[in-house]
Amino acid sequence: MTESVLIDVRRLAADTLKLTVDEVPPTATRDTLPVWDSVAHVNMVLAVEQHFDVQFLPEEMLEMLSIELVAMLVDEKLAARGPR
């Protein structure tokens, strides 16, 4: 997982969930963060999509169970797209 991607994902998650970045560790999941409800999930994923200029399928959104997994999916998308 790319460190810079993880940092950006944590920031986007923190801002959409109104937490500090420290409160959103890579291991954070929807169970450990009660504010990460389904509305927040959509908001966060759309912010991530726009930030990295990628698009996720609904199936992929369901796989985003932790911050780490979000970052990994972003990484996969960026790798599949190739350098710009």
């Binding site: 920031r11 726009q50 609904p58």
Partner: protein, 613 residues
Amino acid sequence: MTREQVDGLIAAGEAPAAAAGMARLFAAAPTAGSAAFVVSRFEQIAPALTLAPLRIAILRSFTIEPLVAALRARCYLAGLDATIQLGDYNLFAQELLDPASRLYAFRPDVVILAALTRDFAPTLWSGTGDQHGEAAASATRLLQWLGAFRRISEASVIVQAFEQPPFAAAGILDGRSDDGQRKAIQHLNDAVLGAARESRSTYVLDYDALVSRHGRLAWADQHKDLAMRVPIRPEAYGWLADEYMRFVHPLTGRVCKAIAIDLDNTLWGGVVGEEGSSGIKLGAEYPGNAFTALQHHLKSLAARGILLTLCSKNNPDEAVAVLRDHPDMVLRPDDFSAVRCNWDDKAANLRSLAAELNIGLDSFAFLDDNPVERDWVRSQLPEVTVIDLPADPVLYVDALRRVPVFERLSLSAEDRARTDQYRAERLRAEVESSSASVAEFLRSLDMTATIEALAPSTLPRVAQLTQKTNQFNATTRRYSEEQLSRFAAEEGAIVRTIRVGDRYGDSGLVGVLMARVTGGRCEIDTLLLSCRVIGRGVETLMLADIAAMARTLGASTLVGRFVPTAKNAPASDVFSRHGFAAAADRADDTWWALDLQSAVIAPPDFIKVTNPT
């Protein structure tokens, strides 16, 4: 401006500066992520700011939750603390018709009706069945709801008109039939528009035009639509929020009544003081037609009642001559309600424009291609709406169209005649400048300079500068490359060049000073600056450099000469400002002398010289 800087300002208790920083950050990247950041930080600093409350209720047929942060961020940046209530999916009728509904309990200032065609009129969206009848029935239904709302609430209503599908159900046959799908949806929209014109505080947002502006296919996200009823892309939520702001601004009085416009490279291409009226780019051909398009757009703003004013660093006679005589000007002197063409700083000129027109600075927008001028105005007059023009003039008009402060909900006869009312009092300029804050601003530019002797590599540029520099040029002596190299080879000759950079980038070689030392006397033959760096202390640095150099070479007097021309007024006081005494005042020139044994010219402390010599 970065997130870290914003957080630093918040930690330091500087809420207004943090707010201004977030405006810059958001303008650079108006994404969902930036919006979330802006909202979370404004929630922290809101108590320390003067924000007007605004209650917005959105009745919707689709997932509009991602728009909430986007809209609240834009409101915060416009000085509004918005509370937003979302209705339940597709429960418009219940909420609008029941006086005891959640909608009315919320006591909204603004209600937005955001229904998609496919949800509100599914038959029209699918294109099956009696299209004409369905359009009429849908219109009747909507107008009944709006009528009910008006009887209960005084709030403003924004109704989204209905979008066309990307492909008509009948394909290319659609237009062949009297009962076509497109025609039916258009009929519904016409009915909504007609009703809105007839009723108070009811406005129509042309959702179809908005979607088509960005592209129907680029607007939609079909996967997320089918899986989770998120029908539009993240960018589109931002675009929709921008469109809402076009209504929010005039509804809350956050509009500009006047716009102060720069001339060179804004209203026309090039610098008239350098290239002359015939050299500027304007007219029917590229690239001049980009500037012509901007002028046409400004003229349409004037027709909306927005006052056009000029705020330009130029010789007034020259600028007015272009306005009056250039064959391709769309805007003429009569189109401007007030004019400031001088060499004073633009914040001072904006203050004096506002005083002359008797409108507040918060009603002023500022249009200038130069990012340094824009930042200066932002720093001095935060209440002015500074429009960020892109570097490419082709995109000027689009940039201006995106600004919501020129939107109007209605237009009166007074609005249309406003420019005429101000026409009488024009061409007057009395400005006080605050030199303390000028120095502070110059310091913030982080300027750097490199002063060097003439070199073979710089010879062509230096000769070119002597040939084309008209404004800041003490003697306006023209040199060819050959003449210049002969001058430099003479005994006692000095040719100094200066390159200047700042945090916006490198301006390149922008200044030249040529002098001769003979006996105890150093005489300045040429002192010129490109117009890009006038008023930034560069001439002080050059004079300090030559004074030190002349002293080293045994000169006891530094002599300057000013030869007035039609264009070089900006340089007229360069010697008197630096302690030179008037030595001779003759008909065609003035001579100035500085005693090098007693006088010292201090280099400005806000320019970092990278190769001290």
